[in-house]
């Protein structure tokens, strides 16, 4: 046996719960990371898109002759140049280049590839388009009215999607109610505002294969979609993801600019780069889904919820992207955040000439939570019960299976409620603030809470919700972890490396993560649904455990110890009981490698979560785990101006288990501030189909001086299916803020505002009684 000279035992040490710096942070912070915007390929052309000048019009003629003549222009294309293009998007209702009709101001009419972006831009100005304006439809309820003009001839009634869900008998529930409340809520347009604007580089290799440098969150799904679009074998498409300057759900779908860059690359036989300006990013990238939400809820005097009826109208915009499917998530909050014996939920997503909505961190749950949690406060007040007590009385518990079929193996909701309430002093402050509503001080204080339920173990939407891992150890025991999971800034590479190191007893520095090239990485469904830590984490652990078994078996064979007596610690094989070093890991691997029957330590693992597809009635245990949270917001409302300041957020998050404390805090803090923006500052103003504030000057992101104090406690419920017990957390922190702020404003002022955002003028109007509350204009 070849024990290393230093015979001090290595005690087990764990990385789990530690503060592990993000692996790519130094490269990014020093300006070395090269995003799509920074890449320059030899011979590369620059593309620009001509968009519609009308919200809704017929295209009568397009004249590109002058543009084509401009020196430096290599190609000017319209739909006529790509007759083989196919529709894209969730409902395949969207041609990249429009043929005879434009349906929104985003619509792509022509595109130019030129030597420089400036020349391409100049060429756009030389393109002449003749339009015949058509009647404009920019109100979702009007789109449903009988006789409304059709946005798409083959979509009768302008219906893009509908969702109907129910359990129990809401009429019975209402009959059993002592109190019933009903409100209409209006949720506004916001957009992702990734700091890196959208962009793509398309390049055909000499063999005809397509190479895409893309910001996508779902590379493998996109491979298939691009293949369908181009009519080529998906195997001939390679997607490379340079560092991505933020995504937040915006990069889940294909947008016309990507096929257009591919068309131009094919036609010019050159690499083509297409990068948006910030204005274009505001005008032509997706939004969060605007929703009109009617909610009717009831309870008994003792605080038992009796029923809920939710009806929502989604403005789909002119085309269908993932925004139309957010009701999947919204109905979970309506049906299952609390125990609701009778529930009915209905959505219609309708076409209009407005910008179309995509997926955005939280995926409909900010909207649903806003409505549901307002009603939890209203019902509690109506029966004279403290809202905390009311929520606790109706909260889900571990082991429950909801009527929608979600099974909560772990559920920390009650602990979240208690922790956030106690640490913030919720009950006393709420009472004291209410008592001061009518005093002379024009500046009021308010406190409000909201809770949330969100998938935390993937979401089985596609045939597979899985992720693959390839793991190899080189001759020096350096690990290369090749994962299908994309990195969009959330820190997946670091947490995956951590999980592998935990299994193999190695420091983080011993791992390189490869995660950005579909020719190398194994399949993954993509970054969405807060799934990466859970799914890719389990996949990485699986690969690491296989490697560990192989290593320990080899060490056992070499040293005569039983494999089960061995462990990996500190870069060595050790005796599990004493920690005594048996052999240095690199040495063992070299000895495996450099022999007659050489062995490589290289493993693969595919993890598929044990969740179920929902049935046609939207019932089923769609996620392998569920995340819970409660957030309490404290605000100050200046009644002279309507300015609402978010002072403090006290959160409690059931995250299963904290893996990387630094990373999870970053997710929470970033999510809270994104929620703050949704509640208080961000407002994409869309009037008559026109975005009025396409710039950071007038679309206001939260800035550093405005952030609240944030106090978070993690509730560790140790989910049995989760990697080391962890559940997903990426979306959770953004979900409750607007709902909790609404409740806090009510506590401060006595005024319940049901329309977002709480910008100063909107709040001032509401306090002055000058606001028009949202109305449901549909005939039932």
């Amino acid at each position: 046996m070849s024990a290393v000279p230093d015979n001090r035992g290595l005690t087990p040490s764990s990385l789990i719960g530690g503060r592990i710096p993000k692996m790519d942070a130094p490269e990014k912070a020093s300006g070395r990371a090269r995003y799509i915007h920074d890449l320059q390929l030899p011979g590369m052309l620059h593309a620009k898109i001509l968009r519609s000048a009308h919200v809704h019009a017929r295209i009568l003629a397009i004249d590109t002759a002058q543009a084509k003549k401009l020196p430096g222009v290599h190609a000017v294309i319209t739909a006529a140049d790509v007759p083989w293009q196919r529709p894209i998007g969730v409902a395949k209702d969207h041609l990249p280049l429009k043929t005879d009709r434009v349906r929104s101001l985003r619509d792509e009419i022509a595109a130019v590839a030129a030597d420089t972006p400036e020349i391409a831009e100049a060429a756009l100005r030389l393109i002449r388009v003749e339009y015949e304006p058509l009647p404009v439809l920019t109100d979702a309820s009007e789109a449903l009215a009988p006789g409304a003009p059709l946005i798409h001839a083959d979509r009768p009634g302008n219906i893009a999607m509908t969702f109907d869900y129910s359990h129990g008998d809401v009429a019975q529930g209402e009959a059993e109610s002592d109190v019933v409340v009903e409100d209409v809520f209006r949720l506004h347009y916001v957009t992702h505002c990734c700091m890196g604007v959208s962009g793509v580089i398309a390049e055909f290799e000499p063999n005809g294969n397509l190479r895409l440098y893309s910001n996508t969150q779902v590379p493998f799904l996109h491979k298939r979609e691009f293949a369908e679009l181009l009519g080529i074998d998906p195997g001939r498409i390679r997607i490379i993801q340079p560092p991505i300057g933020g995504a937040f759900g915006s990069k889940l779908d294909i947008y016309p600019f990507e096929p257009i860059a591919i068309f131009l690359a094919r036609i010019t036989r050159r690499p083509v780069k297409l990068v948006f300006t910030r204005e274009e990013e505001f005008l032509a990238s997706p939004t969060r889904q605007p929703v009109l939400f009617r909610l009717r809820s009831g309870c008994k005097k003792d605080g038992t919820l009796t029923f809920r009826i939710a009806e929502t109208l989604h403005d789909n915009g002119a085309y269908t992207s993932w925004g139309a499917t957010t009701p999947f998530v919204m109905m979970q909050t309506v049906s299952s955040l609390y125990r609701v014996p009778h529930c009915k939920y209905r959505t219609r997503a309708v076409y209009t000439n407005n910008p179309y909505a995509g997926s955005f961190r939280g995926y409909g749950n900010l909207q649903a939570t806003f409505a549901v949690e307002a009603h939890m406060d209203r019902l509690a007040d109506a029966i004279g019960m403290d809202p905390l007590e009311f929520r606790l009385k109706n909260a889900q518990e571990p082991g429950e299976t909801t009527p929608q079929g979600m099974h909560f193996r772990t559920c920390g909701l009650k602990d979240c409620l208690k922790s956030a309430a106690e640490r913030s002093g919720y009950v006393e402050k709420r009472r004291a603030n209410r008592a001061r509503q009518a005093d002379a001080n024009p500046v009021k204080r308010g406190i409000g809470m909201a809770s949330m339920l969100h998938v935390g173990g993937g979401a089985k939407i596609y045939p597979s919700d899985g992720c693959g891992t390839i793991l190899k150890l080189d001759d020096f025991a350096h690990v290369t972890l090749i994962t299908g999971a994309s990195e969009i800034g959330q820190g997946s590479e670091t947490v995956l490396a951590e999980l592998v190191c935990e299994e193999l007893g190695l420091p983080i520095s011993a791992v390189t993560v490869v995660n950005n090239d579909t020719d190398i990485t194994p399949w993954d469904v993509g970054v969405h649904a807060s799934r990466t830590t859970f799914i890719a984490g389990n996949s990485a652990i699986g690969a690491a455990r296989k490697a560990k078994a192989k290593i320990l078996a080899a060490a056992a064979a070499k040293t005569g110890h039983a494999p089960e007596d061995l462990d990996l610690r500190g870069g060595c094989v050790v005796l599990k009981a004493s920690g005594e070093r048996v052999i240095e890991l690199g040495k063992l691997i070299r000895s495996l490698h450099f022999q007659d029957k050489a062995e490589l330590v290289m493993t693969t693992h595919y993890y598929e979560p044990p969740s179920k597809h929902q049935d046609r009635e939207f019932k089923g245990d769609v996620s392998a785990a569920y995340a819970w949270a409660t957030q309490v917001c404290e605000v100050e409302v200046d009644t002279r101006t309507g300015i609402v300041r978010l002072l403090k957020v006290t959160g409690a998050h059931d995250v299963g288990r904290v893996l990387n404390r630094l990373g999870i805090e970053g997710q929470i803090e970033g999510g809270v501030v994104m929620g703050q923006g949704y509640a208080l500052t961000e407002n994409l103003i869309v009037e008559g189909g026109v975005i009025r504030n396409p710039c950071f000057r007038d679309y206001k992101l939260v800035t550093a001086p405005e952030i609240p104090e944030i106090d978070v406690e993690f509730i560790e419920t140790m989910d049995g299916e989760g990697p080391q017990g962890a559940k997903g957390v990426g979306e959770a922190p953004a979900i409750c803020i607007a709902a909790a702020v609404a409740n806090a404003i009510e506590n401060a002022t006595g005024v319940r505002i049901t329309a977002l955002p709480f910008t100063p003028e909107n709040v001032y109007r509401a306090l002055a009684g000058a606001a028009q509350p949202p109305r449901w204009r549909l005939a039932d």
């Binding site: 400036e118 100049a122 002279r640 101006t641 300015i643 300041r645 208080l680 500052t681 103003i685 009025r692 504030n693 000057r697 007038d698 206001k700 800035t703 001086p705 405005e706 100063p760 003028e761 001032y764 109007r765 002055a768 000058a770």
Partner: protein, 288 residues
């Protein structure tokens, strides 16, 4: 593409004025407004783009015989860092402190802010309260000529001033306020600085005993140009700043304003803000 044929960077006032006299010049100071306006096509650049930041005569903050003179190319950062400004013109200092961001304050100049003539320009409201004058220079035939124009008469419309094409704004001159002068700048917004103000209010007056004299009230973003609210001033002149007088001043101010509705605020809300905040601004100034 760009019609600019020449970039000029004169190193003296003489040289700058000669370039201006030759015509077709866009004057560039800090560039923080000019660059985005020219890129968006809102402000087409002339044949010659002339940077004035190397002209020494446009620099410096000095005080002589009751007048504080601020060179037009003085940056907002320099104003904010100036003990003279902070001590003698605190209302201007407040506006500079609430001006955009650190990076913009490091580049933007007071001359640029004045000549850009935005109804929401941050330094304009305090300069109106301080009864500042624009010092304009030109060189029509060999010799430098200078004229002074009260800032209240300088602004014509958004982006338009009484500066003639051959003239350069050399400096802003402010009479040193008397010792018992109180003042306050208020910029509506949810952020400390990085905001285009939906409205701004400037107030200044001399306190004599319990009453206010030489009352000056200026308002931003409630009319096509920053404006003096003379009726509101009259309502407070010689009065004690009590509830009644303040309400009267606010009511008078509302009659004078002509706010518009845009993406930042409705006209109704702008009026409400003036009504609610003007009394508070005056009270705050008098309490400090």
């Amino acid at each position: 593409m760009s019609a600019v044929e020449r970039f000029a960077a004169p190193r003296s006032l003489q040289e700058a004025l000669e370039i201006l006299r030759a015509g077709e010049v866009t004057v560039l100071a800090g560039g923080t407004d000019l660059m985005p306006q020219s890129h968006s096509g809102k402000l087409p650049l002339a044949r010659v783009l002339m940077s004035v930041r190397r002209v020494p005569e446009l620099q410096g903050i000095t005080e002589t015989e009751g007048t504080i003179r601020i060179g037009a190319a003085t940056t907002i950062r320099e104003l904010r860092a100036s003990g003279l400004v902070r001590g003698r013109l605190p209302i201007l200092w407040q506006a500079c402190d609430r001006f955009a961001s650190d990076q913009v304050r490091n580049a933007a100049t007071i001359g640029g802010n004045v000549c850009n003539a935005s109804p929401a320009g941050d330094t304009l409201v305090p300069l109106l309260v301080l009864e500042a004058q624009a010092v304009l220079v030109s060189k029509p035939d060999g010799a430098i000529e200078e004229r002074r124009l009260p800032l209240a008469e300088f602004f014509l419309a958004p982006g338009r001033t009484r500066r003639q094409p051959e003239e350069l704004l050399r400096a802003i001159e402010v009479p040193t306020p008397p010792a018992n002068f109180v003042s306050e700048f208020y910029k509506f917004g949810t952020r400390p600085a990085l905001d285009i103000s939906a409205i701004s209010i400037g107030f200044g007056a001399v306190r004599e005993g319990g009453v206010l004299r030489q009352v000056r009230i200026a308002l931003g973003a409630v009319a096509p140009t920053p404006m003096r609210a003379s009726r509101a001033e009259a309502a407070l002149e010689g009065a004690a700043p009590d509830e009644q007088a303040l309400a009267a001043a606010a009511a008078a101010a509302l009659e004078e304003t002509r706010p518009i509705s845009d993406v930042r605020a409705s006209d109704w809300y702008r009026r409400e803000l003036v009504r609610n905040m003007l009394p508070r601004v005056v009270r705050h100034a008098c309490e400090s």
